[in-house]
C-alpha cells in the first residue's frame, strides 16, 4: 500500500522573511557552511513612476522559502545514474549516500537547488523532510521553528483541500516540470512563475 505524498505548505502572505526555518534546518541537520537545504529567496521588483505631479510606487517584495519539494515526478531520481535517490512510500525523496557517486547530475535536474554537494564527503546531500522526526510523529524542524506559523506540512491532498492548489510562484520555475509537493498561500504581490517583472534580491544569500 502506498501512503499519501507528503508536502509542505507556505503562507507567503504571513512569511516575514526572517529565515528562522533556514537556520532551524541548518541546526537540526548540522549543515556545514555553504550547504543550505532550506533557503529563503527574496523576490523584488517594481519602481517609482511619475503620474502628473505625484510619484507612485509599484515596488514590491516577498519571500519564498524553498527546500526540496519532494516532487511527484522527481527529476533527480530519474537523472541519478546510480539510483541513489529514491522516493519513500510517503513520497519523501531520500538519498542513499552509500550509492552516491558524486557526479552532481541530480543538481542539473533539480528546479529548486535542493541537491547540494558536500566537498568533504564527495557526496550529494538534500532535505529529507526530517524523516526521523516524521517517523516519531514530530514536526519537521523548519515548520516547527516558524515564528509566524506560516508553514504547515501533511499529505498533499489534505493541504490542497485546506489551502488551495497554488504551486506556481516567481521565482520558482514552472511546476509542470516536476510536479512539486507544495502548496503556497498567495502574497498580495506574488507573481506567477514565468514573471520577469522582478528579480531575486538576495542572490548572495541563496
Amino acid at each position: 500500500m502506498t501512503e499519501q505524498q507528503m508536502a509542505f505548505y507556505v503562507d507567503l502572505a504571513a512569511c516575514s522573511g526572517c529565515k528562522a526555518c533556514q537556520i532551524a534546518c541548518k541546526d537540526k541537520n548540522d549543515l556545514d557552511v555553504g550547504i543550505m537545504w532550506r533557503r529563503v529567496v527574496e523576490y523584488v521588483g517594481g519602481d517609482w513612476t511619475r503620474s502628473g505631479d505625484a510619484w507612485v510606487s509599484t515596488v514590491y517584495a516577498y519571500s519564498v522559502t524553498v527546500s526540496c519539494l519532494h516532487c511527484e515526478d522527481a527529476p533527480c531520481a530519474t537523472a541519478c545514474p546510480s539510483s541513489a535517490l529514491v522516493k519513500r512510500d510517503d513520497g519523501v525523496v531520500l538519498i542513499d549516500e552509500s550509492r552516491c557517486i558524486g557526479c552532481r547530475y541530480c543538481e542539473w535536474s533539480c528546479p529548486y537547488g535542493a541537491l547540494q554537494f558536500d566537498g568533504d564527503t564527495g557526496k550529494m546531500t538534500k532535505c529529507d523532510f526530517c524523516a526521523d522526526y516524521l517517523d516519531e510523529g514530530k514536526d519537521p524542524a523548519c515548520v516547527a521553528s516558524c515564528p509566524m506559523r506560516a508553514m504547515d506540512y501533511g499529505p498533499l491532498d489534505e493541504l490542497r483541500e485546506r489551502y488551495g492548489d497554488l504551486a506556481e510562484v516567481a521565482p520558482l520555475p514552472d511546476p509542470s516540470i516536476s510536479r512539486p509537493a507544495v502548496v503556497f498561500g498567495p502574497h498580495p504581490d506574488s507573481r506567477a512563475g514565468a514573471s520577469t517583472s522582478g528579480r531575486i534580491g538576495n542572490l548572495e544569500e541563496v
Binding site: A77, S82, G122
Partner: protein, 307 residues
C-alpha cells in the same frame, strides 16, 4: 570553472573524437579498397585504429575527475532504465569493448573479412549510441542552452571533425613509419596517403561549414528564448565570453578551411611529406583547440532555470 568541468570537457571531446575516428576509418577503408590494394590501405588504417583505444581510455579516466566519489564509479550504470547518464556510460563501455575486439581481430587478421566487417558495424552503431546518449544527458528542461537540437548536432560535428583531422595526422605518421621501415618511398602508398588527405580535408570543410551554421543559429534561438535564463545564456556567450566565442569560431575556420585548402593544394602539387604533415598537424591542432574552447563555453555560458 574547476577540475569538475575540465574533466567533462576532456571526457566529452576525447569520447567523441574516438567515435569519429572509428566511423571515418570505416568509411575510408570501404572507399579506398575499391581503388587500392587492401594490404596497402591497411598499412595506413590499422595503426590509426589501434590509436583509438588509448584516447578513449584517457577520456574515461578524465571523466572520473568529475566524481565526488570516484571509487563508486562502477555504480553509474545501475539506472539504465531511467538515466541518460547511465546509458551514456553503458554505451561508451560497449563501444570500447566491441571496438577493442574489432581492433584486435583487424590487427591480427583474425577471422574472415566479412566477419570483421560485422563486428566493426556493431561497434560503429554502439559508438553512435554513445554520442547520442551523451547529448541526451545534457538535454534537460532546466538547462536552456543545452536543451536544443544543436547539442546532438554539435556533438556529432565535433566527433567527425576532430576524427577526420586526427586520422590525417595518424596517416601521415603511419606513412612516415612505413617509409622508414622500408627504407624507401612507396609510390602506391604515397598516392593513397595524398588521396585520403584530400578526401579528409574536403570532409573537414563541409563539417566546419555545418558548425558555422549551427552555432549562430543556436545563439539566435537562445536570444529569442522564453525564459530569462535562455536570454542570459546567449548574452554570456556573445558578451561575457565574446572574445573566446569569436576565437573558437575563427580557429575552427582557419584550421579546417584555410589549412585544409593548403593541404589540398600541397598534395596535388606533390609537396614534400614534411610540409604536408606539418599542415595536417596544424589543421588538427587548431581545430582541437577550437573545440576545447567551444566545449568550455558549453559549460561556462549556460545559465540554468530555477533557484
Amino acid at each position: 570553472m574547476g577540475l569538475h568541468d575540465w574533466s567533462l570537457i576532456i571526457f566529452t571531446i576525447l569520447g567523441q573524437m574516438s567515435v569519429g575516428v572509428f566511423l571515418i576509418l570505416g568509411v575510408i577503408h570501404t572507399v579506398a579498397i575499391r581503388r587500392h590494394a587492401v594490404e596497402e590501405v591497411e598499412r595506413l588504417t590499422d595503426r590509426a585504429l589501434l590509436a583509438i583505444g588509448p584516447v578513449l581510455v584517457l577520456g574515461f579516466i578524465a571523466s572520473l575527475g568529475h566524481l565526488g566519489s570516484p571509487v563508486n564509479a562502477y555504480l553509474s550504470i545501475l539506472n539504465v532504465a531511467d538515466s541518460w547518464l547511465s546509458r551514456e556510460i553503458l554505451f561508451g563501455a560497449l563501444f570500447a569493448v566491441s571496438g577493442a575486439v574489432f581492433a584486435l581481430m583487424q590487427w591480427r587478421k583474425v577471422g574472415p573479412f566479412a566477419l570483421r566487417r560485422v563486428v566493426a558495424l556493431v561497434a560503429a552503431a554502439l559508438g553512435i549510441a554513445f554520442i547520442v546518449s551523451m547529448a541526451l544527458v545534457y538535454m534537460l528542461p532546466l538547462q536552456p542552452s543545452w536543451n536544443l537540437w544543436a547539442t546532438p548536432v554539435t556533438f556529432l560535428v565535433t566527433s567527425l571533425l576532430t576524427g577526420t583531422l586526427a586520422i590525417g595526422v595518424a596517416f601521415v605518421a603511419s606513412y612516415a613509419y612505413e617509409r622508414k621501415r622500408d627504407g624507401e618511398d612507396s609510390a602506391a602508398l604515397a598516392a593513397l596517403l595524398y588521396d585520403s588527405l584530400r578526401g579528409l580535408v574536403i570532409a573537414a570543410v563541409v563539417l566546419v561549414g555545418a558548425q558555422l551554421v549551427t552555432i549562430p543559429l543556436q545563439v539566435a534561438i537562445l536570444s529569442g528564448g522564453e525564459t530569462a535564463a535562455a536570454v542570459d545564456s546567449a548574452a554570456r556567450l556573445t558578451s561575457d565570453y565574446g572574445i573566446m566565442f569569436a576565437l573558437r569560431l575563427a580557429l575552427a575556420f582557419i584550421g579546417a578551411a584555410i589549412f585544409g585548402l593548403f593541404v589540398y593544394r600541397s598534395t596535388l602539387g606533390q609537396a614534400s611529406q614534411r610540409v604536408v604533415g606539418g599542415l595536417v598537424g596544424g589543421a588538427f591542432g587548431l581545430v582541437l583547440v577550437g573545440e576545447v574552447l567551444g566545449r568550455y563555453l558549453f559549460y561556462a555560458a549556460n545559465v540554468p532555470i530555477g533557484v
